[in-house]
């Protein structure tokens, strides 16, 4: 078994590991352990954050953190489930600059709050022609019929 995976399971026994293939690992962890796991993977095991993905599923918002172990080519995808009635999770931004932009994007497009983020302002959407309550990546996002008539 891969060294990092062995240490991860020892350190975080609540982690549920699914090995899709030798180079793609998907690891479910409780929301509260996110910062500890992320610090372990980046600071101790030297993994690089590729990106994060936010998905609106029936069970809640799934936030995936894709860490790449470049020495071995294995991607560790950490999955955190966030309930829809309490959509918040600890931000990695204060100690990990690489996560700051993607957390801003997930906040503005999916509507998850990242507590402790140094600057949770919108990254991509317009400052003049957009309502911040509209979250396009949610399944219940309604495309307004007048969307192509707007323009001023």
């Amino acid at each position: 078994m891969n060294e990092s995976l062995k240490l991860l399971i020892e350190r975080f026994p609540q982690a549920g590991v699914f090995e899709k293939n030798p180079r793609r690992l998907y690891i479910k962890i409780p929301r509260a352990e996110l910062t500890a796991v992320a610090k372990f993977l980046h600071n101790e095991r030297g993994m690089r954050l590729s990106i994060c993905t936010g998905i609106d599923t029936r069970e809640g918002f799934e936030i995936l953190y894709h860490f790449s172990e470049d020495k071995t080519g294995i991607i560790y995808t950490i999955k955190v489930l966030v309930p829809k009635d309490d959509p918040q999770v600890d931000s990695l931004g204060p100690w990990f600059p690489a996560a700051q932009w993607i957390e801003r994007e997930m906040h503005e497009l999916l509507g998850v709050n990242f507590t402790g983020h140094p600057n949770l302002m919108p990254l991509l959407t317009s400052d003049t022609d957009w309502e911040p309550e509209r979250k396009p990546l949610r399944r219940d996002y309604e495309q307004r019929s007048d969307i192509h008539e707007r323009g001023n």
Binding site: T125, S126, D127, T128, D129, W130, R134, P136, Y141, Q143, I147, H148, R150, G151, N152
Partner: protein, 138 residues
């Protein structure tokens, strides 16, 4: 005076390139017109750095919400008469982004467009032909 300006425009069009939410492929093909293979400078066409000096606007991209005010402002700054040439399928009709929440184009919804050069991206030869056709209609 207007005829003199049209004559100047036809003989040596100074073009300003404006891209709003494009993938930059059309923009690179436009820049390639300046390189030795196509070399539009021999026709007198010059790419200028400010819309205030432009006779023609080469516009690309499917406009998005954030770029739209800037597009309108650039059009206002360009002295008239000015030729607006939409380059690329995105500029002509939004292309594959028509269902996006952020795309508000195409250009002819907001400013008058005189020529459409479809293609993804249009070949440099097609762009030269399109610009020449647009100029000959003046």
């Amino acid at each position: 005076m207007k005829d003199l300006r049209i004559w100047g425009l036809k003989k040596s069009p100074w073009v300003y390139h404006l891209a709003a939410a494009s993938c930059n492929n059309c923009d690179i093909e436009i820049l390639e017109l300046l390189t030795p293979r196509y070399d539009v400078e021999r026709f007198g066409a010059v790419l200028v750095g400010s819309p205030r000096h432009a006779d023609a606007l080469l516009v690309t991209g499917v406009i998005n919400r954030k770029s739209l005010p800037r597009v309108l402002e650039v059009y206002q700054q360009t002295p008239k008469p000015c030729l607006v040439i939409a380059i690329g399928t995105c500029a002509c009709n939004c292309h594959i982004f028509r269902n996006s929440y952020n795309a508000v184009g195409p250009y002819d919804k907001y400013i008058p467009v005189h020529a459409y050069i479809p293609g993804c991206p249009p070949k440099p030869e097609a762009m030269i032909l399109g610009v020449v056709k647009a100029l000959s209609k003046l």
